[in-house]
Amino acid sequence: MEHHLVVDRVTKTFGDLKANDAVSLHVRKGTVHAVLGENGAGKTTLMNILYGLYHPDAGRIRIGGRAVRINSPRGALESGIGMVHQHFMLIGPLTVIENVILGLEQSGLRLGLAEHVERLIELSQSFGFDIEPSEPVWKLPMGMQQRVEILKLLYRNADILILDEPTSVLTPSETGPFFDVLGRLKEAGKTILFITHKLEEVMAVADEVTVMRDGKVTAELKTSETNPRELARLMVGRDVVFDITRSEGHFGPAKLTVEGLRAQNDRGLQALDDVGFEVRTGEILGIAGVDGNGQAELAEVIAGLRPIEAGRILIGGADAAHASVAERKHGFKIGYVPEDRQVVGLDLNHSVAFNLILRSLGRAPFTRFGILDFKTIRAHAERLTERYDVRPRGVEQEVRFLSGGNQQKVILAREIEDEPEVLIVSQPCKGLDVGAIEFVQKTLLDQREKGVAILYISTELEHIMAVCDRIAVMSRGRITGILKPEEAAPERLGMLMAGATTDAS
């Protein structure tokens, strides 16, 4: 059967990096086709090419048998391709209907909102959901915003819908309805391209899957003819098993205790809603949950980067809730490895040596009478890069040239060298290759041996299971349950992440 959408050996290079290397895709009409791969596999680059945001260096795209040149998003839409990005392309202050009709070829002087509203309501009802056309988009919950994005494409008669990591912003309870919508789109004859790194979703929803790794396609399969283990191997290159052994824990008294934390996120919504837990010395407490349920804010609040509305943060009994960032680091000995390595954790314009003392600028022995002692700074850096095996070695090079894994080493080295008593790590393995991940996990386990109380925040359940002594699950700003890894079966975790508390039966 003739494939509806064919990507024929497309290549795209950025500087030294070959993001797509002779990638081919064969998609049949009316199917849900998953594109599976890890971060950095090249999936989003490929989709951006299909949507006209990037131009391929080589290769061709064919739709319905005919070769097409897609030079811009408008061109993509003309060819019937629409895309819902992972980070929605909606304009906050504008209303739903304004967002939907933006960019339509409209002649004349009138916006014609009334007619468009009617048409939009009809369209959304035919797919089985309600919509409020006059609401400003920033007020809508994520699931609703996603539907607006999809409606935008349907309104323009898009045939092929590309969805980039669509469930990354949804809670488990929103995922079900989302899959229903996919089903209805399929019934209506639409073709869906679904980018993801989650194996379960591929198996649950897709008819066919193309697996990518390091910019190349490693397999094109029907989901009925494969299984998660095989997919994982194709995605990562080897069986995904972590070689980490966790020793018996020696736990002391509670070192980090948070009680009744309440805080808002950047949009003014409640991110932390009465959060409380404790971490003992020598213990690693994991915080699991779908991204966006308050984990990022929790880390910021403890580190001092976000104010709290209520609650206490006790370090060994003393309340740090109103201390400055510097006081928490140097006084309360709270180390913090932030989620956003490059924007928060490091100053990319400066050298490795500078970044290694970034949080101690102005303190002895690196500074005397306000003037930096470059000799001491350099010696310190050389010692640390040696101990933590940062590559390449040079301490004067700009830290932006290091790989993700080495940048993370710099951050870890810096935080650990100051002998913290509490360590907060937020998504520490994001974007790292397997070797770097093992290094990070081992380093954290070492600190655990030394008696540091560690709060490990991550969306990767496998990592949490490997390293944590206990796992707390966060959902909508609350701790819904705290389990031991042995008790953490997937269904149980899923329910906790969806908001059921351990009290519910």
């Binding site: 104010p307 109103h322 932030p338 928060v344 954790g345 490091l346 100053d347 970034l358 600028l361």
Partner: protein, 367 residues
């Protein structure tokens, strides 16, 4: 070959200036003059002739200090468009100190006090926008711009009213006594010590930008406010500090216009030196040593303009136009870079700054 291309790129500031001069020569030609003669008169007059060079130094003094006044906040990612107003406030405070403090004070001490007064005046005028930006996230570009006019009119009020000299035909203050006049550095000319003080500040700032923790903290605040907060640097405090200190430098420029050149406070005495400072700082991309060079160049253009007019008959307004062209071309040339444009990057980070300040603003200090 790559080395040559790199060199060409690096010199793009120079190409830009040459391009501006070239277009300027078209204007001169339109004015029925010979561009070559005109430029020759301008440049030799400004730099190679004793009195012309003295005038260059005179004009360079406020431009240099104003340039530094813009460069310091720029390092922290702030745009100080208010140097002009800060100059006026500095001159006002310095004149107060000069006219109304006891005459028994020894001259040199009094001059120092007047300089400090000038720095306080300008510093105040920089502190206000700094505070508004840091604590209320008010765009400092607009506030500093608007405060220029408040400052200018404030001075206008004082010299038309309370400070008006007896029998003055137009608004100016009494003359300050001779002991308070800044020493001359070139005999028989107007060139005064102000420019030397400016150069000293430039050197000190250059050094502190690279070697002191304050200087590096400012840079981190400017590049990457989120990382700065994470590093424990108070973004708020550094923003206020940078704008206040910048204002103080501009205030000093104003003080020296009174103490070194005019010896009294005049209504509208500044020929736009505050805006020249912006040009100078941006041409130099915030580097204090390059600010000195740029101020010298621009000062020379101004000084040479008068000489050119006398020698060849080309009106001085052409130099204003050329100055505008220089800025246009140099800023355009910045876009042709291997990495992204410096200023665009500063601007992008400013947006991050807003988010950080919003968070820090609500931070409760130690009890």
């Amino acid at each position: 070959m790559l080395g040559v291309l790199r060199a060409v790129y690096l010199l793009k500031g120079v190409w830009a200036i040459l391009a501006a001069l070239l277009l300027g020569s078209i204007l001169i030609w339109l004015g029925n003059s010979n561009p070559i003669e005109a430029y020759e008169a301008l440049f030799t007059g400004a730099f190679f002739e004793y009195h012309g060079f003295a005038t260059t130094l005179v004009k360079m003094s406020p431009m240099l200090l104003a340039g530094l006044a813009v460069a310091v906040p720029l390092r922290a990612g702030q745009f100080n468009i208010g140097a002009e107003g800060q100059i006026y406030l500095g001159a006002l405070f310095a004149t107060f100190a000069a006219l109304y403090l006891p005459e028994a004070l020894p001259g040199w001490l009094h001059i120092i006090i007047c300089s400090l007064a000038g720095m306080i005046g300008g510093g105040l005028w920089g502190l206000i926008p700094g505070y508004l930006k840091a604590c209320h996230n008010v765009n400092e570009v607009i506030v500093t711009l608007l405060m220029n006019y408040i400052g200018i009119n404030l001075v206008s009020y004082f010299v038309s009213g309370p400070m008006l000299a007896e029998g003055a035909p137009y608004p100016y203050s009494d003359e300050i006594r001779e002991e308070l006049w800044l020493p001359y550095i070139l005999p028989r000319t107007d060139a005064h010590l102000g420019v030397v003080i400016g150069i000293i500040f430039a050197i000190l700032l250059y050094y502190s930008f690279r070697r002191t923790s304050v200087g590096l903290s400012l840079a981190t605040v400017g590049h990457n406010p989120a990382a700065a907060r994470y590093a424990g640097i108070s973004v708020r405090r550094h923003i206020i500090l940078s704008l206040a200190f910048g204002g103080a430098l501009a205030g000093l420029a104003g003080a020296y216009e009174v103490l070194g050149l005019k010896y009294r406070l005049f209504h509208m005495f500044s020929a736009g030196y505050g805006f020249d400072g912006i040009v100078v700082a941006l041409l130099a991309e915030g580097n204090p040593l390059l600010v000195t060079a740029a101020a010298l160049f621009l000062g020379g253009l101004r000084s040479g303009a008068n000489i050119m007019q006398r020698a060849v008959g080309v009106p001085t307004t052409v130099v204003e136009a050329i100055q505008g062209l220089v800025v246009i071309f140099v800023t355009a040339s910045v876009a042709f870079r291997f990495e992204n444009s410096y200023l665009a990057a500063v601007w992008r980070r400013r947006k991050a700054m807003d988010a950080v300040l919003a968070a820090e603003r609500e931070e409760v200090g130690p009890p």
